[in-house]
Amino acid sequence: MAKRFFQETEDEPLYEVSVQEEITARLHFIKFENAYIETCLDFVKDHLVNTETKVIKATGGGAHKFKDLLEKKLKLKVDKEDEMSCLIKGCNFVLRNIPHEAFVYVKHAEPEFRFQTTHPDIFPYLLVSIGSGVSIVKVESEDKFERIGGSSIGGGTFWGLGALLTKTKRFDELLQLASRGQHTNVDMLVKDIYGGAYESLGLTGDLIASSFGKSATADKEFSKEDMAKSLLHMISNDIGQLACLYAKLHNLSRVYFGGFFIRGHPVTMHTITYSINFFTKGEVQALFLRHEGYLGSIGAFLKGAEEDNPNQYSWGENYAGSSGLMSISPDVFPMQRTRSGTFDMLEMDRLERELVNLPLLLDSSSYIPDTVDLTEDALAREYWLSCFEEALDGVVKRAVASQPDLQDARERAEKFRHKYRHKLQTLRHQPCAYGSLTVRSLLDTREHCLNEFNFPDPYSQIKQRENDLALRYFQKVVSSMEMLSWEDRQFALVKGLLAGNMFDWGAKAVSDVLETDPTFGFDEAKRQLQERPWLVDSYSRWIERLKGPPHKCALFFVDNSGIDIILGVFPLVRELLCRGTEVVLASNSGPALNDVTYNELQILTEKIAAMDSVIHSGITKDRLILVQSGSSSPCLDLSRLDKGLATVVNERHTDLVVIEGMGRAIHTNYYAVLRCESLKLAVIKNSWLAERLGGKIYSVVFKYEQPRE
């Protein structure tokens, strides 16, 4: 796309807004049945952009089988990569890069998937790959892994023996048979031998003593369903037992299961989970992976891209381009299952930076960014899904308005509407499709969908206009503060910050007001604010703290453009600087709603420095610095921050973290525990959420916390 400049007609614009297409590297993964290999190769051939490509990496048994076809069709040399090392490479990759990749499966629970937070240290772990046979691999580091064991009783045994016993040839059908069967008709249970439990050993009566034991002695016909179920139990229990023995021998507690036997089948995930629970008495949990079916291909790709230094990048799942996990059992929607088994997609965006934990997190391994897991909270889920659906019209309108010169903007905006609405509908039926459902993931999905249709920054002009407007009032606001007593000034600063935070296009209630009444001003906002005591109010403790020695360095995660950043945040920054506290302003790397971006903030800071000596000296003396967060989300994940930010935080001995706004301090991080003092403040601009928290719309959350002794 050509560069375009949107010139402001009135006055001199503060800065120019330019739209230019950023080239983001994105990985696309498509999963399909072997039967469609030719169609796939045709597609690949048509899209081979780089003619310098001479080699294609392939792995799996089919790499051998389809080698000739690949070489003939694509005129590329097939470079076969070792299956297991690709699998491990892919597994490491998803565990590192995809939040909520791993989950525990709990049948009949609501939700049935319990997603695990991404642990910074993924090693060591055990990978139990259940294909035709079973491979048990111990992974100790990126490059060090070992196949410590295996078994010939695996998915192929279930399929092969199942086909012999039931005359059912399809794997999925066998699983369906099994899910309807009663294994107790075929298996000999402890109670069949003992008449009850074997109490001295603690073996319950329902325990299987001998798989298929009844078919050895009873002269009768057994139903296909019962035999399939018995077979499934036999194989799952056996694999679970071996996995536990190996986990115990190698002292490993994280055990991931994959392979076609598992691949999102609730039936097998349940039986494996049951077996692991039984054999480890609950000490080890069976873990499954959302993208388990892609591990080999991800690994093969990464091997091909190995000349790149992988440590320079981070990856994020693109919700717009990825089809989610199927949570519906095959019995309920057999069609849907079949479809997902046939064709499935995953897209990953490459970020040109390394993302790390905020070093100030008290316990990074237990940190969960999101405040509410909507998969566990049906009421909240229903509300937010509807809320995002209702806001869709406005977002479409905004997107169209943001590109007045582009003819196809309306068409693209409609496509965006369709796609995002479809995502919302999918999530209504399968809340776990992309890991835990959260307000953050709903917001991020919307951003991804907007990007997908070339609306990277629909608020660019609005942000520009509001920044411009707010800058004009900056000095007035600052001087009005100067006149106040110390105590009054502290309160005015906080109130100003809160009032500024009401200017948020993300909240529907506010964006409605802003849309209809552009004169809605800063003073008006202050009047709307809740009077103290606030909904959450630790202001008194904050003031007491301010009477003490100044902080060494404050890290400030900022929120919106315009009044928020300029009239709300900067006066407070100024005060902190005057107190002798260094300030690090962290803003988004890429656009999201009307949040101020790193680039915008650089311009704004320059302008403010030009009219304010305190800010100016802060900049020149390196006591006020700007960093980018690494994120393009309206929310904040403190476990995925730009490495540069983390370095600055460490170097400056940061002892105060300020997090501002609903997205960053309420929807996320409300419960985040830090090693230093923290201040989380926001105005609840959503009446439903306010009510849920026990307040009204425009209630104030002012949460000041000191680290536990």
């Binding site: 035709s132 046979g133 192929g156 016993l165 798989s211 298929f212 034991g213 057994f222 021998l249």
Partner: protein
């Protein structure tokens, strides 16, 4: 599939002692057709002289000697999921005086058991296992080993009633799950109180006892020399003089794995439901066979490599990176979803594949347990190994190969009978507690 009919369809007639069986499992026919009559006579005799049973406590009667010895008959019984194992001590030092005192039905039981090798359609005496000239509790005699399907248990109990077994005032020591399951039936149907014993206790005591007395002058225990070469490896006997610690793998219908540190210190490490019952159950379903013997015979003739997917079927050869030989089984029954392969295989191949996969799986779990428990001696017992050279050699090979020679697989001639022997030993341990 009429494997159970012989027992079920007797319509009240006692299958276990009705000697009209045309066929017994080991191929010999029963030559003692007259015994039926004899038993019949005995039956009446017992009815005439039988006394009412005392239901409330364990009944016991001292024999005429001064020693604390339980009265004859001496039985030990192990009622498993599939088979009932019975050991019977036949005193050979009965004095004329004693013989005169001996009640008629006791005598007839002795004669019946020792003069037959098959009982009913399904009862078998493993004559080749008989332990001769044994001294137990000061009495000299022979120990007989008898088995019959657990399904015939009710017939057996009924016989006990008809013969008024309860009048003998003997203690019936029983172990295995059936001791619990059938306890009430013994009581209600035959007025017999079982003395229930833990099956793992009995198993260990029985094993240690038989190893200590040996097998008629030979050692009870054996192993395979050069287990890495299953074709040519040789069976060698050995003495289990210092058996501890040992990993004891009991393969019956299911499998129990015990770590045994001394004669009364052991723990059950784990178990698996993939055992002998699974082998026979799957074989019955897959091949239509009806007995263990039949299934094993088929397996001996079959070739599992047509049924299983081998490493070389996937990788074209060895998977060198992981040290997997091309001939190793990658997926048991892994070829059976393909139509073409299905057409090329026989029932014998299926039986073989079933046997190999169950055996290898047990071997694999046993090996892991041995490593986890740091035990090098792995003793395999249980009736799954009866007449099952394929499995014993495979287990010996698997232990040796996967442990690089660290583990040693040991086997026992009386593989399935140790629980019953242990139960008998408990009977003999009982002292007068009236």
């Amino acid at each position: 599939m009429d494997k159970a009919k012989s027992i079920v369809e007797q319509n009240g007639a006692d299958a276990w002692y009705a000697f009209n069986s045309p066929r017994i499992s080991n191929g010999t026919t029963n030559a003692y057709s007259a015994a039926g009559k004899h038993f019949h006579y005995l039956h009446q005799d017992l009815h005439n002289h039988g006394s009412p049973a005392n239901k409330c406590r364990l009944r016991r009667r001292m024999d005429s000697g001064k020693k604390n010895r339980p009265p004859f008959p001496w039985f030990g019984m192990d009622i498993g999921g599939t088979l009932v194992k019975l050991v019977y001590f036949e005193p050979k030092d009965v004095t004329a005086e004693e013989e005169q005192e001996e009640v008629e039905n006791l005598k007839s039981i002795r004669k019946y058991l020792t003069s037959n090798t098959a009982y009913g359609k399904t009862g078998i005496r493993d004559v080749h296992l008989e332990l001769k000239n044994l001294t137990m509790c000061g009495r000299k005699g022979n120990l007989h080993f008898i088995r019959f399907p657990t399904q015939a248990m009710h017939r057996f109990i009924q016989m006990g009633r008809e013969k008024n077994f309860s009048s003998l005032h003997t203690t019936l020591c029983a172990t295995g799950g059936g001791a619990y399951k059938f306890e009430e039936d013994f009581r209600a149907m035959a007025d017999l109180e079982l003395h229930k014993l833990d099956e793992l206790d009995c198993l260990i005591q029985g094993l240690l006892y038989v190893d200590s007395v040996g097998f008629n002058g030979r050692p009870e225990c054996y192993f395979f020399e050069d287990p890495s070469d299953p074709q040519n490896c040789v069976k060698r006997t050995c003495c289990l003089d210092n058996p501890f610690p040992m990993l004891l793998v009991n393969i019956g219908s299911g499998v129990s794995i015990l770590a045994v540190y001394s004669k009364d210190n052991y723990k059950r490490v784990t178990g698996t439901s993939l055992g002998g019952g699974t082998f026979l159950g799957l074989c019955c379903l897959l091949t239509g066979c009806e007995t263990f013997e039949e299934a094993l015979e088929m397996a001996a003739k079959g070739d599992s490599t047509n049924v299983d997917k081998l490493v070389k079927d996937i990788y074209g050869g060895d998977y060198g990176r992981f040290g997997l030989q091309g001939s190793a089984v990658a997926s048991s029954f892994g070829h059976m979803m393909s139509k073409e392969k299905l057409d090329t295989i026989s029932k014998e191949d299926l039986a073989r594949a079933t046997l190999v996969s169950i055996t290898n799986n047990i071997g694999s779990i046993a090996r892991m347990c041995a490593v986890n428990e740091k035990i090098e001696r792995v003793v395999f017992v249980g009736n799954f190994l009866r007449i099952n050279m394929v499995s014993t050699k495979l287990l010996a090979y698997a232990m040796d190969f996967w442990s690089k020679g660290q583990l040693k697989a040991l086997f026992q001639e009386h593989e399935g009978y140790f629980g019953a022997v242990g139960a008998l030993l408990e009977l003999l341990k009982m002292t007068d507690d009236f």
